[in-house]
Symmetry: C2
Subunit: 143 residues, 2 copies
């Protein structure tokens, strides 16, 4: 059983952490397909049995918590370019937004024991918390 704080149902419990060569926000591409590297997911041993069924070659939707984002931003210049007119954050993929969930489609390259999973590509910083992992559904119209 996972130990969860019963008093705050809106609190995220990170299930793991990203280990990546990306150490500074300015090194990260805007999207994974824009040259992002491989990364390792180190999943908390307390929840690692939730990985059962994940195998190399599968595609996943990975959800991260972009912990360096600003949560009080509601409009941005898309892609950080001041020439782009201001736009509501919900119409952009800006990391700055009220709940900075990062959404990444990745391929599984390797699965090690003890909850280490190598994925590609991933455009987030080393140390970014992982909050969920979901399969891409074969007949999905959504992912």
């Amino acid at each position: 059983m996972v130990d969860l704080d019963p008093v705050d149902p809106y609190r995220l419990r990170p299930i793991g952490i990203v280990r990546s060569n990306l150490k500074r926000r300015e090194d990260c591409s805007h999207q994974g397909w824009e040259g992002a590297p491989d990364a390792w997911l180190e999943i908390d041993p307390a929840v690692a049995e939730g990985l059962d069924g994940i195998t190399p070659g599968c595609e996943l939707v990975l959800l991260t918590w972009l912990h360096e984002a600003q949560r009080n931003v509601l409009k941005v210049h898309p892609r950080g370019n001041p020439e782009n007119p201001l736009r509501g954050v919900f119409a952009t993929r800006s990391p700055d937004r009220p709940n900075p969930v990062g959404l990444h489609r990745v391929k599984i390259i390797e699965v090690e024991k003890r909850g280490r999973v190598r994925v590609r590509p991933l455009e987030v910083l080393d140390g970014t918390p992982v909050i969920d992992i979901k399969p891409v559904l074969p007949n999905s119209v959504d992912m």
Copy 2:
């Protein structure tokens, strides 16, 4: 500026709520394309300017917080069918998981002033909190 609790950076702040005819969990289809209805998103006026740029016809990725889910479940029978062998929750789309984020691809049908947005299809319960909205990117390999 959005008022956020500065002491807990892992706390979600719902940005709105789903209004739907789905009132009981057993009425919800497993996935949106399995016969789910339209729903209204009622976005908190405090963050509604973040919707600027969202228009009917667009496709969105909607993130919800499946507040009735069990967060201490790590293995499930996929699709709730006991004949399916137990599988790690991260290899399934089960709502029961440590961080029960719902991921839904929807089409925008209508946008009203004051942050009401009608979307289709959406397989979550009336009253489900909305935590994020993102555009589907035109050249996206991920969504």
